[in-house]
Amino acid sequence: MSEKKGLLKRLAEGQVWTSIFRGGGVPKSRRQRMMVILNSVFLHLHPVRLPKHAVKLKFTWCMGGLSFFLFLILTISGILLMFYYRPTIEYAYVDIIDLAEQVPFGIMREIHRWGAHAMVITVWLHMFRVFMTGSYKPPREFNWAVGVILLLLTLLLSFTGYLLPWDQLAIWAITVGSNMARATPFLGSEGPGAALLAIGDINFVTMASDVRFALIGGRFLGEATLLRFYVLHCIGLPFIIMIFMAVHFWRIRKDGGISTPM
């Protein structure tokens, strides 16, 4: 009567395991396997089952998955870099040099940099693939819009990270890039309509009060810009992109699973 149970089986039926993973031990039936997915906050974002032909590499290029994989790499390597990098004019550049030359595994910074380049490429290719396979069509049109926001956030993460080494390339690239914000209609000091918001000689949209100022924290690039970009790069944008990513993955399941070849 008393059969000797294996260690794995006893673990799977023990209280610790069953309290974390609902569904009664090792899933045996198709229904139980489905319940494992649905009962996990992480796995439930993902479809329960995938049609075999839908995950053909030729069809998906795996670009969405690779983008997410690179996002994880960037998050982990980025957090590691934060332990050494100080976002001030005095230290930013030398800390980057330090990270490459003195800190163990100087490749960490390169992983973060090349991973960022790769993620921009995979996100674009993912968008291209979704367009070419028509996967943006109803009922997936909302998820396409979410994807466009994710693309924008990826580019903004790339842009804000660009400044952090605080070398000549970074400073002038962000000078040029942030000058675009001057031309924002109504909100940029040199944009169309900015002159309308004035009383007599007094302009309300000036270099010290326009949208570019909010971005760079000054009339010109400086300490405030570095700090703003650092906070946006490490906290603000990752926070927002993770919310949209959760919606994006969840909607794939809600919109009828991954799109399949016609």
Binding site: T175, V176, G217
Partner: protein, 190 residues
């Protein structure tokens, strides 16, 4: 009496009953459908106002009251401090201004390239400003002649103070393409 009170909510009854929150329910404090909706709308209006107020605060938060930047208007010494025919670089780093002395007078050029906003270098051998970012070139006057820059460099307001010192005022710009360089404050005659 309770009916009259309901209609004129402004008038406080002389002996008001204890608030319903104390747990004593009576017929007068019963939540009606109408009062529920009016409280609901007041609640929503308060919520939207509080949220809107907070977002306004968030926006304003990004515009500090004090900027730790060099001032916009500065004294640039006396006209005799500048050599005729020279482009003076001493205010370039701090104030983003080149002061150029010609035989008839002095003008202050902005160091911001009119293409995309980098800072050009003054090449005295070639007598031109050359931008390292995309190769725009400007004559000593600020007129663009090569590269992608679409218009000349801007000039700042330049006047003499009472003590004879030069004052450069960066808040007022003069653009050649708008015909503003003929303005007496764009060129200090000495």
């Amino acid at each position: 009496m309770p009916e009259a009170n309901k209609k004129k909510s402004v008038a406080v009854p002389p002996a008001s009953p204890p608030p319903a929150a104390l747990g004593k329910t009576n017929a007068g404090s019963e939540v009606t459908r109408r009062s529920f909706f009016s409280w609901l709308s007041i609640g929503w209006i308060a919520f939207v106002a509080a949220t809107g107020g907070f977002f306004t605060m968030m926006l304003r938060f990004f515009y500090p009251n004090v900027l730790f930047e060099p001032v916009q208007t500065f004294r640039a010494g006396y006209p005799e401090d500048y050599q005729v025919g020279e482009v003076d670089l001493r205010w370039k780093g701090k104030y983003g201004t080149w002061v150029v002395r010609e035989s008839e007078g002095i003008y202050a050029l902005s160091t911001v390239c009119t293409h995309l906003g980098c800072t050009p270098n003054w090449l005295s051998a070639e007598q031109k400003f050359k931008c390292p970012c995309h190769g725009s070139g400007f004559r000593k006057t600020g007129i663009n002649f090569e590269g992608p820059a679409p218009r000349p460099l801007e000039r700042f307001r330049i006047v003499l103070a009472d003590d004879g010192q030069i004052i450069v005022d960066k808040t007022k710009k003069f653009q050649q393409e708008k015909g503003q360089w003929v303005d007496p404050e764009a060129f200090l005659k000495v």
